[in-house]
Amino acid sequence: MFSFLVPDRRCHADPMFWITVFFAGLVLLVAIIFFSYLIFESMPIWEQGVWAFLTSVEWEPAEDIYGAGAMIYGSFIVTTLALLFALPFALCGAVTASEFLSPRTRLVFKGAMEIMAGAPGVVYGLLGAALLSLWIKDFFGLIDGATLFTAGILLGIMILPTIMTLAEDAIHSVPGEYRDTALSLGLTPLQAFLKAVAPRALPGVIGAVLLGLGRALGETIAVMLVIGGLDIVPSGFDLFSPGQNIPSKLGREAAEAIGSGLHWNALLALGAVLFFGTMLLTGAGSWLLRRNKV
């Protein structure tokens, strides 16, 4: 019955062994419960039509009409903006740190990046609400600085250090021989990077980007503070309009809807969408990073 456990039966006699396995099993159980709850509780929504839920932009709890379109659109836009904003900085920073900084400076730089990457989202959110949204409001002459654009840029700043430091790891872990060989053929360090190192590091760098995106997709509080909170797909797809993404929607409405009927089911359906999205991104990201190491 316990054939999935270590074949060496000698440890089966030790209670410590069973305690260890019990707690490990509990973790697995919680994961299963969590997952099933998300699926079963959102079932009433899926039964009404998956496609309709994903594309409709109407969200009216008073009339029990739920469509996730605006939030999915908002998540997509905000994440894309974050990516576009973060990518040039993160990649150039990663390349510089790995290839052109002395080992000591590199460590200082990496340390700073990792502190930034670990900073709580709410801190970014406060700075975003206090500074970024005002700057954006003034700079673009808007009525209000809480827009999809603001949320995108703020998320970009948030995921920048994550992507930079992971991409740097990926670049730095390309075996020295590739660099050396290119250099020994007379290439400059920049040429050596572009021609010999970059192609090798690419899967890992993409992995880093996907992990960063996963974080961007799931970030709640920072976005809530600057996105504006309107469930719309703005006319003309205006980036400088308030909007809503999935986590911010959940953060706003979860407390008032807990356990109550279709509204709750709809929020959990949103959660499931988000869950699968992040799972896909981080799963693909980790896979690429791992592959890079081999």
Binding site: Y178, D180, G186
Partner: protein
């Protein structure tokens, strides 16, 4: 053979390719090489032997300034190739590396085709003419005795080749940029004995065109292929002379101890 042997014995009779004059090398405060003086003869195979950490690879990498990339290092003394001090600030290090090619321990073709690997260096240095590139690829692969084996599949991936073939390809890639000197850092240590024998054969052939300097862990290998051998120990050049002398009648006690396997 007798004629060859008598020629090999005289270091002073050979033209000098590289002059190493009072070279000391530091990693931070740690002295890795101290006061090395050597004349490396042209169109000969010179081997550096010695236990791990003795500085033989460091010395080799001084010759094409690969140590430049390491942080916090310092070199004293001069290394000249031809009449030029290679460490002169005005000297273009890319030019130096074009003249001094290098082959590494781990064979490492780029994940490209066989053709692209060989054409890589010339192409980077601005050669675009397809016919010329074709010629260089064919010539280089012939020199490393790989052409016959791969001529029908030069556009296949280099990674499909066997280990020995890959290492020969790497040597071909290095000579495609027409160096005068080839540095080899334990080029056979990742290969099986048969592949090793082929590379050794190749090295002996290549010395007609190139000055070869090889670092090796394998004393038999030095004995088989090197005309001259330098024994390094803890950053010092203990003895440097014709290979036969080193292995048959070493002057220094330390050399003898190392050769006879008493340490190392």
């Amino acid at each position: 053979m007798t004629q060859g042997t008598s020629q090999r014995k005289e270091l002073s009779a050979c033209e000098t390719a590289v002059l190493i004059d009072k070279v000391s090398f530091y990693y931070g405060n740690k002295k890795a090489l101290s006061d090395i003086c050597m004349k490396l003869p042209k169109n000969k195979v010179t081997a550096f032997i010695g236990p791990s950490g003795c500085g033989k690879s460091t010395l080799l990498r001084c010759l094409n300034r690969m140590n430049d990339l390491v942080d916090n290092v310092r070199l004293e003394g001069t290394i000249s190739i031809g009449d030029q001090d290679i460490n002169e600030p005005s000297k273009d290090v890319s030019d130096l590396r074009k003249r001094v090619g290098m082959v590494f321990q781990k064979f490492n073709p780029f994940p490209k085709s066989i053709y692209e690997n060989v054409a890589y260096g010339p192409r980077i240095h601005g050669l675009k003419d397809k016919r010329e590139l074709d010629e260089i690829v064919e010539r280089s692969l012939k020199r490393v005795a790989l052409w016959e084996e791969v001529k029908d599949r030069v556009h296949d991936s280099a990674l499909q080749l066997s280990g020995g073939q890959q290492q020969r390809l790497c040597i071909g890639r290095a000579i495609a940029v027409e160096p005068d000197i080839l540095l080899m850092d334990e080029p056979c240590s990742a290969l099986d004995p048969i592949a090793t024998a082929r590379i050794e054969e190749l090295i002996v052939e290549l010395k007609e065109r190139y000055t070869i300097i090889i670092v090796t862990h394998n004393m038999q290998q030095a004995a088989r292929i090197a005309d001259f051998t330098g024994f390094l120990f803890m950053g010092e050049l203990i003895e440097f002379s014709a290979t036969e002398l080193i292995f048959r009648k070493p002057k220094e006690k330390k050399t003898e101890d190392y050769i006879t396997g008493r340490f190392g």
